[in-house]
């Protein structure tokens, strides 16, 4: 009889060995005995078979034995205590980082390519979508006011639109709602533009800052430029940067056509060009989304977007920031153009010298902010794997790693900033030799305040870029509050310092407001960022 018992016991052991191997084929490490029971069930074992074939009272008894066997196997395979281990945290080899920088910096430049193309287009063919080298100061004032109002009025909408469309398009891959949200936001943007235009028109009726015709002209430009900005936002969110460049080039081509061949005059040519450019972007965006809906059968279920309160809750801080940011960027111009000797003929009067200095500095801004694409993408790329590599016992190492990461990004941005400003200076200054041959070049360099504005604005933009980098980190983890706070204070500083300097010294020192505001924005957001990176694990968790 003992032999029979031993035989049974051997057969049971073999069966358990066999089952444990089969269970581990589908689950390497079962979480508990019930996971084994479920797996046995899916292999066709039930209570009846457990009794009949394996001589256990139930499937749970059999699972217990199999689980014990698996635990023993695991004991033999791995015996170190992993609580005492921590992998080395690294952000990749130097080459890997350099390649990533080149890739993202290139992408950042592509992001800015439409703006670059416009600068080049004015220089070489005298036209761009809404600029012309031969505008007089009155015309330039009209366009400048239209442009500033368009940027500020759509600033909040374009930022929230970008967020919303990206959320559905990339985050949820829900093409149907991406389409709907794009359409809705474009509609809202259009209404806002009309409302702002109407408001300014009415205010001007009550307090006539500008002659009626000038105001109407400015309003039309504002409307067209605003529509263009809204249209391009959809493509930015869909990450179709190249299409924006194409649309800009198409629009510029239409402006040339209007001026050179159809004799339409600059205003109609501009409006026609902006309209065609916007139309190209809109048709492409909506056709693209429609095609995705068709391809993915994304409209087979009834769906709707959240109601207004939810949208408001999700976006109002981003909306405030977007509006404030563009206001911040244009404040110094408003300060500079509203004073001087002799006093300006209207409340704001375009100053070519000042604008040229700012435009030159804008090239610095483009070159600097392209590197932000690298910093923010690197952050997003590293945040998950580094958490995965960090043992909970060693979470200090995680925070140390990201504090170092932040310092490195600050250093990188400063270096890129200094090189961009100096490079930009030497590059543009090298054209000075052509002054005697080309009238435009001579006009450009003859500006009295050009260098002063260029240097100060470039550093103002560099400081602002530090704030922008911090902003992108905060936005990545859904924390817009510190940014809104910092930007509000930066605007106040910009206004006060810009006002005092432009009135006390000379109009061009309005740019000191940009420098002081940029510095304020950088310092406040950096203080928050220090706290943020010191407790990053918590901030990452709570980013919902």
């Amino acid at each position: 009889m003992p032999e029979i018992a031993a035989l049974h016991s051997n057969a049971r052991k073999e069966a358990v060995d066999h089952l444990s191997r089969k269970v581990r084929q589908s689950m390497e490490v079962p979480t508990d005995v019930y996971a084994v029971a479920v797996e046995l069930e899916s292999m066709g074992v039930n209570d009846k078979r457990a009794r009949k074939e394996y001589r256990f009272n139930s499937i749970f008894d059999l699972a217990e034995e199999v689980y014990e066997q698996i635990k023993q196997e695991l004991d033999e395979e791995l015996s170190e205590d992993k609580t005492k281990q921590q992998q080395k945290l690294t952000s990749g080899s130097v080459w890997e980082r350099i390649l990533a920088f080149v890739r993202y910096y290139g992408a950042g430049l592509l992001f800015m390519a439409p703006m670059f193309s416009q600068i080049l287009s004015v220089v070489f063919i005298t036209y761009s979508l809404w600029a012309w080298l031969y505008f007089n100061e009155l015309q330039a004032t009209v366009i400048a006011i239209g442009t500033i109002v368009a940027f500020v009025a759509t600033g909040g909408i374009t930022l929230t639109a970008g967020r919303e469309i990206s959320y559905y398009f990339r985050g949820q891959e829900n093409y149907y709602l991406s389409y709907k949200v794009s359409r809705n936001i474009f509609g809202i943007g259009l209404l806002v533009l009309l409302a702002v235009g109407m408001l300014i028109y009415l205010v001007n009726l009550v307090i006539p800052f500008y002659p009626h015709n000038m105001m109407v002209l400015s309003g039309i430009y504002m409307l067209f430029i605003g529509i263009w900005l809204l249209s391009s936002t959809i493509l930015y969110a869909l990450q179709k940067h190249f299409m924006i460049l194409m649309a800009v080039l198409a629009g510029t081509g239409v402006v040339i056509l209007g001026m050179e061949y159809l004799d339409m005059g600059i205003y109609y040519s501009h409006w026609f060009g902006i309209f065609i450019s916007s139309l190209v972007m809109l048709i492409y965006s909506f056709s693209f989304l429609k095609y995705q809906i068709y391809k993915n059968e994304a409209d087979t279920k009834k769906q709707h977007l959240p109601k207004f309160e939810v949208k408001y809750y999700n976006n109002y801080r981003y909306f405030i920031y977007g509006t404030c940011y563009f206001l911040f960027l244009f404040l110094d111009r408003i300060m500079a153009w509203s004073t001087g000797t002799p006093p300006p003929p209207y409340i704001i009067w375009f100053n070519t010298s000042y604008e040229l200095g700012m435009d030159w500095a804008l090239i610095s801004l483009v070159l600097i902010t392209a590197s932000l694409e690298y910093s923010v993408n690197r952050f997003s790329t590293l945040i998950l794997p580094i958490q995965k590599k960090t043992n909970l016992t060693f979470n200090k190492k995680f925070h140390d790693f990201f504090k170092d990461f932040y310092i490195r990004q600050l250093f990188l941005l400063s270096m890129v900033g200094l090189l961009s400003i100096i490079g930009n200076y030497y590059l543009v200054n090298s054209f000075r030799g052509m002054s005697s041959e080309i009238q435009i070049v001579e006009d450009f360099f003859s500006s009295a305040v050009l260098y002063k504005v260029f240097w100060l604005a470039s550093f103002g933009y560099l400081f602002t870029s530090v704030g922008l980098m911090n902003t992108l980190f905060f936005f990545t983890l859904g924390r817009p509050e510190p940014v809104v706070r910092a930007m509000t204070i930066a605007i106040l500083v910009n206004i006060v310092v810009g006002f005092v300097c432009s009135r006390w010294y000379s109009f061009e020192y309005a740019v000191v407001g940009l420098v002081a505001g940029g510095l304020t924005f950088a310092v406040i957001t950096a203080v928050y960022a220090r706290r943020f990176f010191g407790d990053l694990h918590y901030y990452y968790y709570s980013a919902y």
């Binding site: 066709g44 992993k82 043992n391």
Partner: protein, 526 residues
């Protein structure tokens, strides 16, 4: 006066927002067939907030509470749509440090103890904690509390102890920061029912012993509402299976998710008055997790025999090729890979065979891609067709020669019952309640056994007479045992019995008899 019963019907990822799947089908039948006897309030947990109602609703659905567990930064706007935004904002302001520290953290501390030791946790205590949380969230902001840094620190500390104590875990995996991040986020999402008001009704009926059942527990404390659980696939078993199969999350994350499911399921069974598995075979799991024999009353699913019926020969259009049909949403529990392999095996004997699989391909898109890849790898592009959702299953079953089910876990699958009702013979795996319905009229194979499945399919496709006999017998068995009317009447009877039971809100007892012991100090949270 309206003498209908008022029932709260709790669903998750199903009726009326998600079409297809057993729970949705069952809920639709319940609501439609009880139109003259019951008014329903639907309490629907959802994966995202964007889907609208996908069904034509009968007049007895009086209101719908939509609770999106994921995909919204402001979920409260969905489950309290009438609430003013200013009130949400003031609740946010009201959630101050002292409230979180003094009122929430002591409860959370005890909850974490249960979470880290789920099998030894006391389900009664878990229920009390859930109710206390619910009371707290009546006053304070759910989101702001769970995002509070002290709550996060408490969680991290507890989880660290949990990690250090798990001998097996220390050897196979290290508890990394991502496990902690996702662990706490899951708590935020899955426990969202704790922030939702529970209406006063005659009976609350949860379609699962998982997260929808939280509303039943709260209802019991707050209003003394009796409750029924319909365990369609046994929540805890399917969770354990699904979570263990996931390749994206580590050992500890799996363990935490399962622990959470265990404590919720145990509390759900503890506080339920009646537990209705859809098949007797499920009761073993329910007993293991705290269900008791006196509460368990199996009610098998039934099918609408007027909707699912064999068409007249004249109306019937069959495929020219031998055709196997299947209605199953594409996700791992449905064993679609086994079905594809079965198709390959059948093709060896019947080269012109075709398998037509109808079902939602968006439930688990990764899995759908995996299946499509397998079809390609096995050169079955002209034999196995993944067709997507079909809105007329009767037509599918009538056009097909036979129907197949290859699931690795099931309740009482509607696809089997509906096929049978249409006179379409079935080959199915021996899971859940399949044997109970198919024993005398179909071919039952072991789960995952491709050879057995292929043999069954081949036999049926080749033998016309056998197929005809099984089809007729299937219809006969459905008519006598598995009609929707029978099921619906059985549930209605349970409702009637519960309504007449005396109801005492458990909160009234709480004040006198419940207190928690911690660090030697008696804390009474009543």
């Amino acid at each position: 006066m309206d003498d209908k019963l008022n029932i709260l019907l709790q669903t998750e990822g199903a009726y009326p927002f998600v079409k297809g799947g057993g729970v949705s089908t069952w809920s639709e039948i319940m609501c439609n067939q009880l139109v003259d006897r019951v008014n329903f309030t639907i309490y629907a947990l959802l994966g995202n907030p964007y889907y609208d109602v996908q069904y034509d609703l009968p007049s007895n659905i009086k209101s719908i509470l939509k609770i999106p567990l994921w995909g919204s930064e402001l979920p409260i706007a969905y489950y309290e749509p009438e609430r003013l935004f200013s009130s949400i904002a003031s609740e946010k302001e009201f959630t101050h440090e002292a409230a979180v520290h003094e009122q929430f953290l002591p409860l959370f501390d005890q909850f974490m103890d249960c979470l880290t030791r789920p099998h030894s946790s006391n389900p009664e205590k878990v229920g009390i904690l859930l109710y206390r949380f619910w009371q707290y969230f009546n006053r304070y902001s759910y989101k702001d509390t769970l995002r509070d840094q002290r709550v996060w620190e408490k969680f991290s500390g507890k989880i660290h102890d949990f990690y250090s104590a798990d001998v097996l875990g220390r050897k196979v995996d290290s508890f990394n920061l991502l496990n902690a991040t996702f662990g706490m986020r899951w708590l935020y999402h899955y426990l969202m029912p704790l922030d939702v008001g529970v209406p006063r009704v005659d009976v609350s009926h949860s379609t699962s012993s998982g997260f929808p059942a939280i509303a039943s527990i709260i209802g019991k404390f707050e209003h003394g509402t009796p409750s029924v659980i319909s365990d369609h696939g046994v929540f805890i078993r399917e969770r354990i299976k699904g979570i263990n199969a996931s390749e994206d999350i580590g050992y500890f994350s799996k363990k935490m998710l399962i622990n959470l499911s265990v404590i919720i399921a145990k509390a759900a069974y503890h506080y339920a008055d009646v537990i209705c598995p859809v098949t007797k075979s499920h009761s073993t799991w329910e007993l293991r997790f705290g269900g008791s024999d006196d509460k368990i009353r199996p009610i098998i699913n039934g099918v609408d025999i007027n909707k699912f019926k064999p068409l007249n020969e004249a109306d019937k259009i069959s495929y020219e090729r031998p055709t196997v049909v299947a209605l199953a949403n594409l996700f791992p529990l449905k064993g679609i890979e086994t079905m594809i392999k079965t198709c390959r095996r059948v093709r060896e004997d019947i080269p012109e065979v075709q398998f037509l699989l109808y079902g939602d391909t968006t439930v688990d898109e990764e899995y759908t891609q995996k299946c499509k890849k397998l079809v390609k790898e096995l050169n079955l592009e002209h034999h196995f067709y993944i067709k997507g959702f079909h809105d007329n299953p009767t037509e599918v079953y009538n056009k097909g020669d036979i129907s197949i089910l290859t699931s690795i876990s099931e309740g009482a699958p509607y696809t089997v019952l509906e096929s049978m009702s249409c006179g379409c013979p079935v080959v199915a795996t021996d899971v859940g309640g399949v044997r109970e319905v198919l024993e005398r009229c179909g071919i039952i194979c072991r789960s995952g056994a491709v050879e057995e499945l292929a043999e069954g399919v081949t036999k049926l496709l080749k033998d016309d007479l056998f197929r005809k006999v099984l089809g007729e017998e299937s219809r006969r068995i459905v008519l006598s045992n598995f009609t929707a009317k029978k099921t619906v009447d059985a549930y209605y009877e349970e409702y009637r019995k519960l309504v007449h039971k005396p109801r005492v809100p458990l909160k009234t007892r709480l004040k006198d008899s419940y207190s928690f012991q911690k660090n030697g100090v008696n804390h009474n949270y009543a």
